[in-house]
């Protein structure tokens, strides 16, 4: 298979295709469908079908990328390089490595599945919805495969605007307020990051935005602190680290299912691993900085869990659970031991899967009952056993039951973190208990007990939803029982991140190699 793909030159075009395909298809989807405020499915070509088709092709492209990837080789793969803005030295540089590859595949596969699963979530203005969704996909992929920091920044902001519209237009409740808050929060971080990118580019001779080039820029520890602060703020806000998290429950609480799912994909964490730590190792290794982040991370673990414990709205409940997990991720990343970082990267992927499954399921419930309040549910296990079973599985994955995907990453993070920070990790381990509390509380309120008498029974999964959710269930179990194929390549990633932090060109201990400043 790989040979065939290589023979058609897939390695050269698959990355640009991954980004361009949805962008080019977006206007088509918008203009072929009819944008109406009434139920679109009634007449004409259903834009959802079209969107799903486009996304399916995108997923295929993602798999092609997987096919051409050579897990034995080091460095960037499937590279694509063309000059873009000669006056700035920006280029369209794309590439993947073991860190971004699983994320890309995850997202490309996730998107069509999510759309299929949330088929009835959005019924009005589906062409616009589809077009925005495609743009969002391009942004997400772009963030992951960009090697040029300017391009990365563009993709980073490209995620923002479609999400803004997706939440604002198709959201429920206080959607407009939530989405403005989302953008404002994100902008504070991202614009400061832009300044840092500028400073970094300028420090590198203002000649190139390429990551490889910028990695070799010599920076004083003080400078690194500032730049790291800007990058970290952007990523921390985006991934909703306490105390920058308050936008997330609002946004995910009112977002349409698909947008909520994409918000759950922690690209911020990717940014930290890819950019913040390798570029500014001295700052990442700075004791005060690290301790601050670690303490925040542990606070996030417990705080998110405690908040999840008292939520009445299922979507907000997921959001807070996800804030708790984010704390775990941050803990894993910033103790900077190979094991913990590896666990964090795995957790990042698993979290994406689990949260998506949860949002899809809650979205299905919301579409059936028109509410996401726990109080409006009950006895679901009798009415919709299959849905309930998968929901239980997803919740178990959230609370990291061994045998599900959630456990492996968490175990690795905690194992790896404990040797560096026993006390903090010990406190974070208490999150395991809190997770059981909030997880089972939801099971108790939604699945068990008696159904509200007045409401009509909730239908079980349709065949389409069943296929989608079955896929998710299989993924959660498979990654819990045999995470090896995903986990093994991450070993190298984790090592390189930790190595970069300790021995990179700007690391406090100085470089091991004799790379020179340009």
């Amino acid at each position: 298979m790989r040979d065939f793909l290589l023979s058609i030159g897939a390695a050269a075009w698959v990355l640009p295709a991954l980004i361009l395909w949805p962008i080019m298809a977006a206007p088509l989807v918008r203009w072929i469908g009819r944008d109406t405020v009434t139920d679109d499915a009634a007449d004409g070509l259903d834009a959802r079908v079209l969107t799903c088709g486009v996304l399916a092709v995108e997923a295929l492209l993602g798999l092609v990328l997987l096919g051409v990837y050579d897990s034995g080789a080091a460095g960037w793969q499937a590279r694509f390089d063309v000059p873009w803005l000669p006056e700035l030295g920006a280029s369209l540089s794309l590439g993947v490595d073991a860190l971004s590859l699983p994320m890309v595949v995850l997202i490309t596969v996730l998107m069509p599945l999510t759309l299929l699963g949330a088929w009835n979530n959005v019924r009005v203005r589906t062409p616009s919805f589809g077009a925005l969704l495609l743009l969002l996909t391009a942004g997400l992929v772009g963030v992951l495969v960009s090697l040029d920091l300017l391009l990365f920044y563009l993709a980073w902001e490209l995620m923002l605007i479609p999400t803004y519209f997706l939440i604002g237009i198709w959201g429920t409740g206080q959607a407009s307020r939530a989405t403005v808050r989302y953008v404002l929060f994100t902008l504070v971080g991202s614009l400061l990051m832009l300044v840092a990118i500028l400073a970094l580019w300028n420090g590198g001779g203002a000649s190139s935005f390429h990551l490889d080039h910028l990695l070799r820029v010599r920076l004083t520890p003080q400078t690194q602190l500032y730049m790291f602060g800007a990058f970290f703020l952007a990523f921390a806000v985006k991934s909703a680290l306490v105390p920058f998290h308050t936008w997330l429950p609002d946004a995910q609480g009112s977002a349409p299912t698909v947008a909520a799912v994409t918000l759950g994909v922690k690209v911020g964490i990717y940014g930290i691993l890819r950019f913040a730590i390798p570029l500014f190792p001295a700052a990442a290794m700075h004791d005060a900085v690290r301790m601050t982040i670690l303490v925040l991370a542990v606070i996030a673990v417990l705080y998110g869990a405690l908040m999840a414990m008292v939520q009445e709205d299922l979507k907000r409940w997921i959001a807070y659970a996800s804030i708790s997990h984010l704390g775990m991720l941050m803990l894993g990343i910033f103790v900077l031991t190979p094991l913990a970082v590896q666990g964090a990267t795995l957790l990042m992927i698993n979290h994406g899967i689990t949260t998506s499954a949860l949002f899809l399921l809650v979205g299905m419930l919301a579409d059936r009952r028109g509410s996401t309040l726990m109080a409006d549910f009950g006895g679901l296990a009798r009415q919709a056993p299959v849905l309930s079973a998968i929901l239980v599985l997803a919740i178990l994955s959230t609370i990291a039951l061994p045998g599900t995907n959630g456990f492996v990453g968490e175990l690795l993070v905690l194992l790896g973190a404990f040797s560096e920070q026993p006390v903090l990790t010990g406190i974070a381990t208490l999150g395991v208990i809190a997770a059981a509390l909030y997880g089972l509380r939801a099971v108790q309120r939604v699945l068990f007990g008696d159904a509200p008498i007045t409401a009509p029974a909730i239908a079980d999964l349709s065949w389409r939803e069943g296929v989608v959710m079955g896929t998710f269930a299989l993924a959660m179990l498979w990654l819990g029982v045999a995470p090896g194929p995903v986990l093994r390549p991450l070993d190298g990633v984790a090592r390189s991140v930790v190595e970069a932090a300790h021995f990179g060109p700007n690391a406090p201990m100085g470089p091991t190699s004799t790379r020179t400043t340009p």
Partner: protein, 708 residues
């Protein structure tokens, strides 16, 4: 011997192929997989039935013949395989020159390959796990068969067997796992199944609450287990039994080992319902009674005992913690036994009894008498399963009777029973046997195991490393003697409350109610046969490990069997001076007398007239304290649960979160408000004001430029 070979394994020396690797033992992965397949099959049927019928599911559609076949079938198959493997082990043990000194580790594939840390899907077969597998599959099979009768009228029939099969699968993973993480899969998995089965009848909120409580309290212990694993990884860079134990043995007595032992034990207190984490077990009786028999008596709750035995090299390296284990076990035993004295719910009595008996086991394993602990584990599995199944039969009958007469009395309340021996003779006889066994009447199984524990504790009180260790300033000797005393008192109480139960349920006048009494009947064969089989085991189980001074058969079979696993560790904690025969005989005599005394007290107490629940005078004093289980639940509620909830719902959700949120919003709102206010004031359309601002600005500008 085993330590040496474990060291070899740990250092990576290429061990020769294990003698068992070519026998049927190579298929031991099927042991958990068979029930797992059963769980999946039954689960599919359950989902299919539920999906097809929605809420209209009834018992007849739920009772799919395939479920009846598959549920107990897979267990039987597993049990058969276990027997086959056992036979193979016996054969190998006789033929191999080195015996079975080293465990047979079957590596199926890697689970978590994370750089330095590689956790394999690996099963470890040794004498301890073999014993556990036999108990689990054997007792499990019986309980499965019993369940076919017990659950036949339940709408969740298929779901029930799915859960039960899944439980057995996880339990087998727990005892077969070759490393702590794999053990942990089973550890948490059985917790999950326990949760699902406690809340099996989930329409009743109380059941779900009980299930949630069980899971959460277990998780507290699990957190301890996790920390123990982290410590172990930090100390040894190993998580598999062989590697970690070998490394930890070499640093016995260090703070790291002590800490690991402590946190492991915290894990055990959760799973095995020891003080202070026992609170979930009495509530767990909300599940179907066979579940209580299997999970909350015979198997899952003994996982902690298994873990201590498994981690014997760790615990024996930390005598202080071993002492702690003993003390906690003793206190739990006494504590739960006292509560059991005043319970009226038949299952609650048995639940507290289980907690108490688990305390005995921890007394044993804590004092280094691993064999005694495991021995009690096995015998307890027999007689407590029997007791629960018997209680199940009784409840089944009571329930059916009340159901037939449309009464809503409590079918589990002892005050509603009485004289049942007349309608349920088989149950009465078998339960009587079990009661005698648990009370410690010779020659039943319980007598031997309990005696083994008490004499072991007594023996270690002098001249052993444990006696020389100290805990909280008390010398080990004092502690162990105290523990022995507590054990004896508890034995007395055990006899009292069990005798009380037996007498209240099966003897005296029937209090079920005239019409309902007529509807009472003995359980069907599918339920009585397993009970009878268990009764046989209850009677005969003692022969597994006869004391040397009782020439009834080959002595100390179990001791020899387990020697490769726990022998070395036990030896490290045991005294150099064996107990004198005379002393030992005295101890036995004391135990027997205590049991008899207890039963006598029960007999006397049972002569008092019984008023039913509605008319009973409220308990007072000590009695009330015991009836309310020392108010521990209320205390925990007030000290832990409510503050946590208050913290989350008030302090965080109403305080901190809006605070953080408000901080950010305040910036935006504040700016907007200021803009609106200042905008209205300054931009009021008056040109003169504008001109003034410009002129003043000019002054400032000039000042900035020229005043320097």
């Amino acid at each position: 011997m085993s330590i040496v070979s474990a060291l070899e394994l740990a250092t990576g020396a290429q061990a020769p192929a294990h003698v068992l690797s070519t026998t049927v033992a190579q298929y031991m992965w099927l042991l958990p997989v068979l029930p797992l397949l059963g769980a999946m099959g039954n689960g599919m049927i359950a989902l299919g039935v539920g999906r097809a019928r929605g809420e209209q599911v009834d018992a007849t559609t739920a009772r799919h013949p395939l479920v009846t076949l598959m549920g107990p079938g897979v267990l039987l198959a597993s049990f058969a395989l276990a027997i086959a493997i056992f036979v193979a082990m016996l054969g190998a043990g006789m033929s191999a020159s080195a015996g079975l000194a080293t465990p047979f580790i079957l590596r199926l594939g890697s689970w978590i390959p994370a750089g330095a840390l590689v956790i394999d899907w690996a099963f470890q077969l040794d004498q301890l796990s073999m014993l556990m597998v036999l108990v689990i599959t054997g007792v499990g099979t019986l309980i499965h068969i019993f369940s076919v009768g017990y659950m036949r009228d339940d709408a969740g029939y298929a779901r029930y067997f799915a859960y039960l099969n899944l439980f057995v699968a996880f339990m087998l993973v727990l005892v077969l796992g070759a490393s702590y993480p794999v053990l942990f899969i089973g550890w948490e998995g059985v917790g999950l199944c326990s949760y699902l089965l406690i809340s099996f009848w989930f329409r009743d909120a109380a059941n779900v609450a009980a299930g949630t409580k069980a899971f959460v309290v277990n998780r507290i212990g699990d957190a301890g287990f996790l920390v123990a694993m982290f410590l172990m990884w930090r100390t040894t860079q190993h998580l598999d039994f062989a590697g970690a134990h070998a490394a930890l043995l070499s640093q016995a007595g260090t703070p790291a080992v002590v800490a690991i032992a402590l946190f492991l034990f915290i894990g055990c207190t959760g799973k095995s319902a020891q003080l202070p984490l026992y609170v979930w077990l009495p509530d767990a009786m909300a599940g179907p009674t066979p579940v209580s028999a299997l999970i909350h008596a015979a198997t899952m709750v003994t996982a902690g005992v298994y873990l201590v035995a498994r981690a014997a090299p760790v615990f024996s390296g930390a005598p202080a913690i071993s002492l702690l284990v003993t003390v906690v076990g003793a206190l739990t035993a006494l504590f739960a036994a006292t509560i059991a004295l005043r319970q009226w719910d038949i299952k609650k009595v048995l639940a507290y009894s289980t907690v108490s008996q688990l305390g005995y086991m921890f007394m044993a394993v804590g004092s280094g008498a691993y064999t005694a602990g495991v021995f009690h584990l096995v015998t307890h599995a027999f007689f407590k399963a029997l007791l629960f199944l018997g209680a199940g039969s009784v409840i089944h009958a009571m329930h059916a009777a009340y159901h037939a007469t449309h009464r809503h009395d409590d079918p589990q309340d002892l005050r509603n029973m009485g004289g049942l021996r007349r309608v349920m003779p088989v149950t009465a006889v078998t339960m009587g046997l079990a009661t005698l066994a648990i009370a410690g009447v010779p020659p039943l199984a319980g007598f031997f195991s309990k005696d083994a524990i008490l004499s072991a504790v007594f023996a270690r009180a002098s001249g052993s490393p444990l006696a020389q260790a100290s805990l909280l300033g008390l010398s080990g000797q004092t502690i162990l003697l105290g523990v022995y005393a507590v054990g004896m008192v508890t034995a007395l109480f055990t006899a009292v409350y069990m005798g009380r139960l037996l007498l209240l349920a099966f003897f005296g006048e029937n209090r079920t109610g005239s019409d309902a009494a007529a509807a009472l009947h003995e359980a069907p064969g599918v339920m009585t046969i397993p009970v009878v089989l268990l009764a046989i085991l209850t009677v005969a189980g003692g022969w597994l490990n006869l004391p040397e001074l009782m020439p009834l058969g080959r002595p100390e079979l179990l001791e020899h069997w387990l020697a490769p696993v726990t022998g070395a560790s036990a030896a490290r904690l045991a005294g150099t001076v064996p107990l004198a025969h005379g002393t030992e005989q005295g101890l036995i005599l004391a135990a027997v007398v205590t049991a008899m005394l207890g039963l006598g007290i029960a007999f006397i107490a049972a002569r008092r007239p019984i008023t039913d629940k509605a008319h009973a005078a409220p308990d007072t004093g000590v009695s009330a304290l015991l009836a309310n289980a020392y108010h521990v639940d209320a205390g925990v509620d007030a000290v832990l649960v409510r503050p946590t909830q208050a913290l989350a719902s008030v302090a965080l959700a109403r305080g901190v979160e809006p605070g953080i949120d408000g901080l950010f919003s305040a910036v935006g709102n504040g700016l907007t408000a200021v803009a609106a206010l200042v905008g209205r004031r300054v931009q009021d359309g008056d040109v003169g004001k504008y001109a003034w601002v410009i002129a003043a600005g000019a002054v400032l500008m000039l000042a900035a430029l020229s005043l320097r």
